[in-house]
């Protein structure tokens, strides 16, 4: 079952601009994670934000989490052509001693040189 839903499905910007992607989810979570996938490759973990955190930074990435609205956003500042990829949010919930990570369908980001 899909938990996270990204918006927009596709985003095209110019190099140097900022890119914002949003994610909404339905149930209570332990944490929310963002991943990047270059075409035809595996996923790379970018950043994780815990349910009791509101904002987190990592380099040019800024993630916010609003648990009351069940939503998150990923901001990539000063984008580069190399940022062109699909970006997925994933929510993790606990099930006893095990955790389950559920992905959205992704946002395809194109950064034009």
């Amino acid at each position: 079952s899909q938990q996270g839903e990204e918006d927009p499905q596709a985003l095209s910007i110019q190099e140097g601009e900022n890119a914002t992607m949003n994610c909404s989810y339905k149930t209570s979570i332990n944490n929310l994670q963002w991943y990047r996938q270059n075409s035809g490759r595996g996923l790379v973990h970018l950043i994780l934000i815990r349910s009791n955190e509101r904002e987190k930074h990592s380099g040019r990435l800024r993630v916010t989490l609003d648990t009351s609205k069940k939503s998150s956003s990923l901001l990539i500042t000063a984008s580069r052509a190399a940022d062109t990829a699909s970006y997925f949010c994933a929510t993790e919930v606990s099930g006893g001693s095990n955790y389950k990570l559920t992905f959205g369908k992704g946002t395809l980001l194109t950064v034009n040189p």
Binding site: N31, Q33, Y35, N98
Partner: protein, 114 residues
């Protein structure tokens, strides 16, 4: 760095064949996962394992089974491959108790069933 290795990048199999997809991780992680990825559907969890010989069904286990005989290796088995199992398969792992760390993914196996 943790490495998750999937044995094949591309695989072509015939309908009805038994197919094995192999995944090996080198950092002693307890938890391992198999996802499939399809256009418009995102990633969906097939099976996961939280220890040797342990397995749990994910969201779409039908038509698949798994094997975890050694901690570092998690195999996905398609008992009788069908064309609707043509997909990208992704393996991932994470250490138990590391719930505030991300998963490490392999590069994926693109399986085509003809």
């Amino acid at each position: 760095d943790v490495k998750v290795t999937q044995s094949s990048r591309y695989l072509v199999k015939r309908t009805g064949e038994k197919v094995f997809l192999e995944c090996v991780q080198d950092m002693d992680h307890e938890n391992m996962f198999w996802y499939r990825q399809d256009p418009g559907l995102g990633l969906r969890l097939i099976y996961f394992s939280y220890d040797v010989k342990m397995k749990e069904k994910g969201d779409i286990p039908e038509g698949y089974s798994v094997s975890r005989e050694k901690k570092e290796r998690f195999s996905l088995i398609l008992e009788s491959a069908s064309t609707n199992q043509t997909s990208m398969y992704l393996c991932a792992s994470r250490r138990r108790g590391a719930e505030y760390y991300g998963y490490t993914f392999g590069s994926g196996t693109r399986l085509t069933v003809v």
